[in-house]
Symmetry: C2
Subunit: 407 residues, 2 copies
Amino acid sequence: MQTPWEYRYANRTQRMGSSIIRELLKWTEQPDIISFAGGLPAPEVFPVKQFKEACNTILDEFGAQALQYSTTEGYRPLREMIARHATRFGIEIIPDNILITSGSQQALDFIGRVFINQGDHIVVESPTYLGALQAWNAYGAQYISVPSDENGMIVDELEKALRVGPKFIYVLPNFQNPAGTTLSLERRKQLVELADRYGVPIIEDDPYGQLRYEGEHLPSVVTLDSQYRGDNGSYTGNVIYLSTFSKILAPGIRLAWVVAPQEVIRKLVMAKQAADLHTATFNQMVAYEVGKHGFLDEHVKFIRATYKERRDVMLDTMEEVFPPGVRWTHPQGGMFLWGILPPGMDAAEVLKIAIQKKVAFVPGGSFHPNGGGENTMRINFSFSSPEVIREGITRLGLLLRELVKKE
Amino acid sequence: MQTPWEYRYANRTQRMGSSIIRELLKWTEQPDIISFAGGLPAPEVFPVKQFKEACNTILDEFGAQALQYSTTEGYRPLREMIARHATRFGIEIIPDNILITSGSQQALDFIGRVFINQGDHIVVESPTYLGALQAWNAYGAQYISVPSDENGMIVDELEKALRVGPKFIYVLPNFQNPAGTTLSLERRKQLVELADRYGVPIIEDDPYGQLRYEGEHLPSVVTLDSQYRGDNGSYTGNVIYLSTFSKILAPGIRLAWVVAPQEVIRKLVMAKQAADLHTATFNQMVAYEVGKHGFLDEHVKFIRATYKERRDVMLDTMEEVFPPGVRWTHPQGGMFLWGILPPGMDAAEVLKIAIQKKVAFVPGGSFHPNGGGENTMRINFSFSSPEVIREGITRLGLLLRELVKKE
């Protein structure tokens, strides 16, 4: 039945499309399914005690300020703290290079709002992060996919894509969602150089950078680009860098940040002002209170140890139970790994059977904006306990053995 | 100097425009100015103690859930609480008619995203809320202004506007921001009837409905429209209703809600998912904990008493010190009143002098999307203490006396 509302929606509403992530999250709500489909942090690593202490301190000492409206750019001491932390990792910025957002998804949305005209081309890795596609589809983006391998985006293939005249390049260099891969140092340098030569900005999305379980920290793309400096010491280069408190503190407080040249920050601030005025004052002040004396550095070590164990149990179990012909990535950090089924096998079909066996993952096809990847799957290792991971991967392995045998 | 970023911005970026509200908020930061320019609640009415208790309870009992990702629609018990409260005021809805947003500004943004194509016409009161114009300018809206008087929008003038074929009608029926006026019951009925006849939806923005200091509560526009019912008892009518916790609890937690037919909620949910995934879980759970046993009903009485005193002091002082020829509205609630200078006087020019005298307000011109109102001013009475209000209005009155004499 047609309702009077249907002909009132804006044209862009058609592009807002099916909410795949959201449909997926529903699996995680069924208690008898072992779900590797979501992208949730382990609740066991939330620093509830420190968070509670910070809430009490903020409300005791700054109650009126914490509950009042505040500026669009974000709470200044928090931006100073983020700038100091970034500088320690070689990202030399000043607080005016930072905008606080209500989660990284909002930063992706504002980037779409500020940069994307209907029909603009965006260069993405294939596979890439679904939330970015969802944000930018609303603005009518088209995607140029650059293939990737164990070392991330195959930058040799990038130049072809840059000749199309894209608006920007979107890349997740560390422990990528979905594939778990890390862009090599050489490719990072090559990426910065190429983007600079073609005058195409880079959006560097780095939610997991702190969550490395082996190997050496690699410099961020924005660091490699940081020869560009304003008079006030600000960053004026070619990269917009995103990170978040969701993975190192907690996602339920919706707190993330964008690093960009000040002129870009000003545009993003205008977008944010029209979109939601500002990020919750209270949440920003509490996050600052939790982090100001270096607690998060210590806490990240605990998260790393927890997730490393889970990753290792998953990799070991896969080694034991997955049949020949099935491959998977070995992520050096982050929350996901990537399974690759024999060519011709359809992961979406496998999922249907897997759900009957009470185990779930995300078929990889949806992470490819221009098709492909039907035989791939994203598998999360951060959320479930080691015991549950062992059980779930065993279920999946037994199923895959049967299916691979049949092929 | 032109920078490489300038030619990269999307076309809509030009429409995002000057951030007037934000520039205004800067006055409030100068400590020696008495500012009636902002729209801030009084920090003295924030229930810091109850909020702190709720934070502790939620973190003690539901820490892991409160800090985790959650669903886009919003925390179910909070939506149930809002539905129960709305029903008490005659707005018969079910929780599925509700979406939780990060402040009402976000609801305005999503309405723009879901409904407005470039060039669409929106009917607004003149003057109207600046934040709505700012949200919808980004989507290329054009405005048809309907004049208003002491009883709100002059609905007799509406029919002409509806013949243009607008996308929707935007109205703030209770203690309107900026004018402080209230739409009469007769006009509410007439508005619902006309909108229904022309098949044009109404956006009813009601941040201040609970803050009435005199007279009887008037039924919301959505209530008058509520003959429309789905099989499940849901609201299926012609109105999208917005309200917020910013004025009855605190704005710094960014928590508001939209009431709409379920099919509209589904579209808004898609918009929210792409925009910021969901509103902070923790904030929603804390607001529910604060409100679940009826505390907000009691608390609203305290806010009413506080603001009524401030309004009365402002009205009394104006009566004493404002010169003949200057008029002002008598708001029955809310946070603002509207000053009207003699015709030909420019409130923006008055502001420049007023700032030298260390008192500030908002010139009314910016609240008129199609011009006019140059001799009007918005004056906030919620934020300053009675003593400060008396001092500030006296400063302004003395200034106006001089200026009116000169004319």
